[in-house]
């Protein structure tokens, strides 16, 4: 029995390593070849940082980076405000359709992105004439951003003691000041975590951006795609590595914020 258990645990460990490798080996290859001196991305011929230097001179990449930052920043702000409002509203909702409503708020997370993209394009063209370009991409990214912020803030509100808000109101705080002085400080890690998540998702998004962008406007993923059409260069590897780094950093920050326990109306 003990032998079987040990063998099983060995297999389990192997399976874990395989899964981990499956996830990260492609990424590792990309990162490694971003430092390759060869002009061809699949050939290793010595270490260099020249591709990173080249990026800094690439006007197209830099302007796309700026666009991506504007879009992700805008989508983050819109998502944070609307998502927090939605989470607070859902918590107070006491009607019978509450579960359905909550599920509808989360839907953009599971709806296939291509469907959302087509829908948004039609919406922007036919219903709400938003200029196609940065405004339309920002709004489109806010759609799924709101969903993520709603989810994260709702989770934060699970442990929230509503009596704290009553106590504040009892002591003379207006609803707005209750929110600013008590509710928001306590759910802030959730809001920030959700907002950062919305930022990364927007920064990385390709499909929706591709559909709702206008002529002459490109975000970073769109530029990468058009560059890749002419072959994967080490420069692209370098760019992808940088994006990866930023995404990881923001993700880590978001996870750390959500785990942090400065807060919560835990009853003592």
């Amino acid at each position: 029995m003990a032998l079987d258990a040990r063998a099983a645990s060995r297999w389990l460990r192997l399976a874990s390593w395989l899964a981990f490798g499956f996830l990260y080996l492609p990424v590792a290859v990309l990162v490694i070849f971003s430092f390759s001196a060869s002009r061809y991305s699949m050939v290793w011929s010595g270490f260099t940082l020249q591709w990173y230097a080249a990026l800094a001179d690439n006007a197209r990449v830099l302007s796309a980076l700026m666009n991506s930052l504007i879009v992700a920043g805008g989508a983050m702000l819109i998502s944070a405000v609307l998502g927090t409002a939605a989470a607070l509203g859902l918590r107070r909702a006491r009607f019978s359709g509450r579960g359905v409503l909550a599920a509808l708020f989360y839907a953009p997370v599971v709806i296939p992105e291509i469907v959302l993209a087509i829908g948004l394009l039609m919406f922007f063209v036919l219903v709400m004439p938003v200029p196609l370009g940065l405004p339309s991409i920002t709004l489109a990214h806010s759609v799924f951003g709101v969903a993520y912020v709603t989810i994260v803030v709702s989770a934060r509100l699970e442990g929230f003691d509503a009596q704290l808000e009553e106590a504040a109101a009892d002591l003379g705080a207006t609803p707005w000041r209750v929110f600013l002085r008590v509710t928001l400080p306590l759910i802030w890690p959730g809001v920030l975590g959700g907002a950062l998540l919305a930022f990364t998702l927007s920064f990385d998004d390709f499909v929706i951006s591709y559909f709702v962008t206008g002529p002459g406007t490109a975000t970073l993923p769109l530029v990468i795609y058009s560059m890749v059409k002419r072959g994967v260069t080490p420069e692209i590897n370098a760019l992808a590595t940088l994006i990866l780094l930023v995404s990881f950093a923001i993700l880590a920050l978001s996870i750390w914020l959500q785990g942090r326990n400065i807060t919560a109306g835990e009853k003592v």
């Binding site: 704290l164 106590a167 009892d170 002591l171 003379g172 306590l186 807060t263």
Partner: protein, 340 residues
């Protein structure tokens, strides 16, 4: 759920709402605080209707059962909250926070965070936070419920002393009858969303209006009885085969009533002794010594069991199994409506 409650709380009194959990006492408190709205009826504060006034503008503050201290604010900032909302000047806030912390004996702890304090200390912070704006009424929702017994006793007398010193009206919700009796000027007993009886602790204890109050506040023995007559002072009733004299207002002959007898008002006498009125035959079933006295169970001839508390020196008659007589004075009985 609260139904049909009509209650006037006097200025400056310590009023307790007492009842088992789920009786509506907390709901009533939340109605007063403004967290719930009545479907009908009026709530007056100092003579003016407040049922449409939001909680923040009612001149009363609440101390919650679990304190509800703001976990992200220091003790001093918690206490200052009400004054900050009133936009009181900074130096005055500082002075009054220091005063309030001194009032609850927490000097010097202003910089701590709530989670760094013990339960009793958190309770005091909640008290200081609620009192600092000098509300006309302080509402307390089982504020000592989470404390251990010893600390609870201490806080009881401290709260009572504080209330006396400040002269603030306290409305205190509790399910602990001892606490309610010990602290209050008046007590309102609630059950099933209704206010059953309001009165001073001794009135509630000695003259309960019904069987629920008699059983919930302290302990009572109940005897079914029928009114057979009366004279100048007493009613004559028939119960357990005996004719008994009880003090009370006249009730029509033939009415069925319930007699409520407190264990400590009963006395046990050896069988055959017949110097007193109100004698009930019985057999001593059990007697235990509690230090402060004896607790005995006496089985009456009709099979019902009465509990009696006797002072420690009354051990002469206490041989288990022997025949004894129970006796009580006519004024020591509460006459209740018979259960329908």
């Amino acid at each position: 759920m609260v139904r049909d409650v009509s209650l006037a709380i006097r200025e400056g009194e310590f009023f307790s709402l007492l009842g088992p959990s789920g009786c509506g006492k907390t709901t009533l408190l939340r109605l007063l605080a403004g967290f719930e709205s009545p479907t009908s009826g009026e709530i007056l504060l100092a003579g003016s209707g407040v049922q449409d006034v939001p909680a923040r503008r009612r001149d009363l503050n609440i101390v919650f059962q679990h304190y509800a201290l703001f976990p992200h604010l220091s003790v001093a900032r918690n206490v200052a909250f009400g004054l900050e909302m009133q936009k009181v000047a900074g130096d005055e806030i500082q002075r009054r926070v220091a005063d309030a912390l001194a009032l609850v004996r927490l000097q010097g702890l202003g910089a701590r965070m709530p989670r760094e304090l013990s339960g009793g200390q958190q309770q005091r912070v909640a008290l200081a936070r609620a009192l600092i704006t000098r509300p006309a009424v302080l509402l307390l929702d089982e504020p000592l419920g989470a404390l251990d017994l010893k600390l609870r006793r201490e806080m009881q007398s401290e709260l009572k002393a504080l209330q006396r010193r400040l002269g603030t009206t306290f409305v205190y919700v509790t399910h602990d009858q001892e606490e309610a009796l010990a602290m209050s000027d008046r007590v309102g007993v609630m059950h099933d969303g209704q206010l059953l009886q309001v009165g001073a602790p001794h009135e509630i204890y000695d003259r309960p209006v019904n069987r629920f109050v008699a059983a919930f506040i302290g302990e009572s023995n109940f005897l079914a009885a029928e009114v057979t007559g009366y004279d100048d002072r007493d009613l004559i009733v028939r119960s357990a085969g005996e004719s008994l004299r009880v003090r009370g207002e006249r009730i029509a002959i033939g009415r069925r009533v319930t007699l409520a007898l407190r264990p400590e008002r009963l006395r046990i006498m050896p069988a055959g002794d017949s110097v007193a009125v109100n004698l009930l035959d019985g057999r001593l079933r059990e007697c235990v010594y509690l230090g402060t006295g004896w607790r005995c169970e006496i089985e009456l001839v009709d099979g019902s069991v009465m509990r009696a508390s006797l002072p420690p020196q009354d051990s002469g008659v206490l041989s288990v199994g022997s025949r004894v007589m129970l006796t009580f004075a006519p004024p020591d009985v509460a006459i209740l409506e018979s259960d329908s």
